[in-house]
Every structure is written in C-alpha cells, then in structure tokens.
Amino acid sequence: MRAPLTDLPVAFEDVSLRIRDFTILDRVSLHLAPGAPTVLIGPNGSGKTTLLRVAMGLIEPTAGRVTWGGREHIPPQRRAIVFQRPAMLRRSTAANIEYALAQAGAMRSDWPAHVAELLGLVGLAGFEARPARRLSGGEQQRLALARALARDPEILFLDEPTASLDPAATKAIEDVIRTVAARGIKVVMSTHDLGEARRLAGEIVLLHRGHVVESGTAADFFAGPKTDAARRFIAGELLI
C-alpha cells in the first residue's frame, strides 16, 4: 500500500525564507530524527509557525534546502500537521477522519475501525455523527489531531496545539501527544508555554528572529543554557 521510502529524517540545510524585505527564516539548519518530541520555542514572530510549514513542505524556502529521507521536493506522504486554528471540513466528526483516511489510501473496509480507534485516542468517542464545525475549540483541536494521525504519519507537526485552551483541555491534548510519541511517531511542536516545553520536550529549539539561537536536549537546555538569549528567555524576560 505504501512506498517503502520514509520521510525521515527531515533535514534543514541553511534554510532561509525572505519575502520582499522581510527575513522570516535566517539560515536555519536542523535535523529532525526519530525520538522524543522536539519543541520549538521563541517569542511571537520568531518564525516557529513558518518553520513548521516549511518542514511540512507547504512553503518553499528561498535559499538552502529541505530534505525528507534524503529527498527534496516530495509531497506530504507520511507527515502530517495540525494548524494552530485547524479548518474543520463541513462534515460530521467521523467524516472528517474518513476524508483523511481516504487521502492516505486506507482501505475503505478498515475505516470504521480506524475512526473508532482514533476518536477513542483523542477522547471523542461517541462524537461520530456530530457536525465538526459545532465542536468546541478544544474538541476541534483534538479532532484535527485525530485527522492528522489518520494519515499514519512518521512525523507529526503541531503548531501551538494548546494555545487558547483551558488547563483541562490542555492536559487532554498533552496526554494525546505523549501517547503518540510513545508509539514512535516523531512529534515536532511549537509552543510559547515554557511549562509545556518542560513537560513534553526531548529536544528544544529556541528561535529568535528566524534564527536558531540554541538547540539541544531539553535537560541540557533548561539546566545550562549556553546563550544569553536562552538564559533570558528561560528567566521570563522579553526577547525583542
């Protein structure tokens, strides 16, 4: 059913993105390989969302190159993304997932089992027939997660998955992220919540003005930040 090729690792080599006079990404080099979640942190406008879109293959960089499993310019096969404000298809909750299953080439006879499993995973069991656009913000976020997982991804990009959610909804999402990561799916997510980064990250990438200021394991990053900017960011100062 699937090509034996893999989308991993995702490698950024000196990637820059300039739109007119604005530098959105500035010579970013990154290596996203299987393992614990990578969390992108940095102030608003530091380029986290753009970096995720470039990693997903939705935006072409203006300089440098991005490779998936060593290949350039390949369409999203085994990678998936949940946007900060995901668009719900004007269909039922189950049909949203079925749509993603169909796109990913899953056998139609397997759909009901997949839908039940995915909705169970994100805590939306019993929501099958509900119109997706009538779900609450947190429920929509979880459905988007289930829809992304329906693609059977090797790598899952999450853009601020808990922004504007209350603590209970945040915990629900974080639990799903842990489960997903435990299943061997590489999670790459952005957040501006340092607490969330501490709770979930295996690796940290600190972005500032489109540039990778510092990256490394979460333990090293929080125990001994190497740069002044990282120290100030951890201390809660404003990076301008």
């Binding site: 939705l58 946007f83 269909r91 039922s92 027939a129 693609r151």
Partner: protein
C-alpha cells in the same frame, strides 16, 4: 384556456391546460438549471482555484454576464438553431429543447459567478489543510463543491429564479406554441396582449407562488442537510 375563469379557479380546478403550462415551465427551467450547474459549478471552481493572467478580467466579465439580456440570448440562439443557421440541421427551433438551451446560456454565468465566490471563500479556509493532506487538483475541486453544497444551492436557486421568470429568450426560441412551448411567462405575455389583464395577473401570482414553493423546498433541504453535516 377558458378566460371567463379567474386564475384562482383555474388552479383550484387543476385545469389540465394550466397544469401543462406549469409543468413545462418547471421542466424547462429545472433542465436549464441542471445543464447550467453541470457547466457552471466546475467552471466557477476552476476559476476559484487557478491563477492565470487575465483572471481578474475573467471574473469581471463573468459577473457582468449575470446580467445577460434574455432577448439578445434568445436572438442569438434563434439564429444558431434556425434552419438557415449553423445548427439548423438539429431541427430544434420552436421546441422545449431550444428553450432549455437558451435558458442554460442565461443561467450558466449566474451559477458560475456565484459558485466561484462560494468556492473561493471556502478555498481560503481549506487550502492549507488540503495541501497538508496531499489532495490533488480534482480532489480539491470535488471536496470544495461537496462541502460548499449548501451554499451552492443558493446559486442554483438564483439560476432557477432567473430561468423561471424569464420571457424574452423563451418566447423567441420557443415560439409560444400552444400546448408545446407555452410557459407561464409566455402565457402571461399572451394574456396581456389579449387584454385579459386579470388572468395575466392571476397567472403571474401562480408563477410567483411556484417560485416560492421551490425556494421553500430547497431551504428546507438545506436546513436539514446542515443539521447533519454542519
């Protein structure tokens, strides 16, 4: 049509001639809308999803064509279908088919222009999700049409209203032949020319009532559909 009866009596007695006229009007207008939808919706989707030089001009022209003068369309179709015209061998002039063709030409720009707007609005919302799911061009169009189906019914209804209310084109290409190409609107024109204004107005009220009923049915279907798939 017995003209000493009022239009209300005609309706209540289910006058067979009136029923024939009503059913021809509905058949012709619905067939025209169906043809126009088969062309107009994919066309609108194509313009909504593609970027090409002259696209803005194309949209302006399409919007302007929503106001195509029926008489001009009728005349053009007449000249096409006339025995002396390029498609004369089809023998379609003065038939219901000719009326369907003329009305489909009138209605296609309306459906295409409204569909383009609807689908483009939806496209802005869906674009990244569909790209992330690696949906191909045809799949995108199918998805946007399907998910926009409730809004698109409005476009179809606008087209139906235009077709059902139109007289200039059908009277030229249909010929207003009694029992064959006489529709509500051409019957109204005829009764007006006979000076039977009460019957003409009565038929007009019947026509408006039919358009309202069709819209109500479509509205009901839309509400029911939205409840289940939002």
């Amino acid at each position: 049509m017995p003209s000493d009866l009022t239009a209300v009596q005609l309706v209540l007695s289910a006058d067979p001639e009136l029923m024939g006229i009503v059913s021809l009007s509905l058949t012709v207008s619905l067939a025209a809308v169906a043809c126009a939808a088969l062309i107009g919706i994919p066309l609108g989707a194509l313009i909504a999803l593609t970027r090409f030089p002259g696209r803005e001009a194309c949209i302006v022209v399409l919007n302007a064509l929503m106001g195509l003068p029926p008489v001009v369309v009728g005349l053009a179709v007449y000249l096409l279908l006339s025995r002396s015209g390029p498609l004369g061998s089809w023998g379609l002039l003065f038939t219901p088919q000719a009326m369907v063709i003329a009305q489909a030409i009138l209605v296609t720009p309306i459906i295409a222009a409204l569909a383009r707007q609807t689908i483009e609005d939806l496209w802005v919302e869906y674009r990244e999700e569909l790209a992330a799911m690696n949906v191909g061009p045809l799949g995108r169009i199918a998805t946007l049409i399907w998910d926009g189906r409730f809004s698109l019914t409005t476009a179809l209804l606008a087209g139906f209203g235009r077709a059902a209310a139109e007289v200039g084109a059908v009277i030229i290409v249909g010929g207003n032949i009694d029992g064959f190409t006489r529709t509500m609107t051409t019957a109204i024109a005829l009764e007006t020319s006979k000076g039977d204004l009460p019957l003409a107005i009565g038929l007009g009220i019947v026509l408006i009532a039919i358009v309202i009923v069709v819209n109500a049915l479509a509205w009901g279907a839309r509400r029911a559909g939205e409840r289940f798939s939002g």
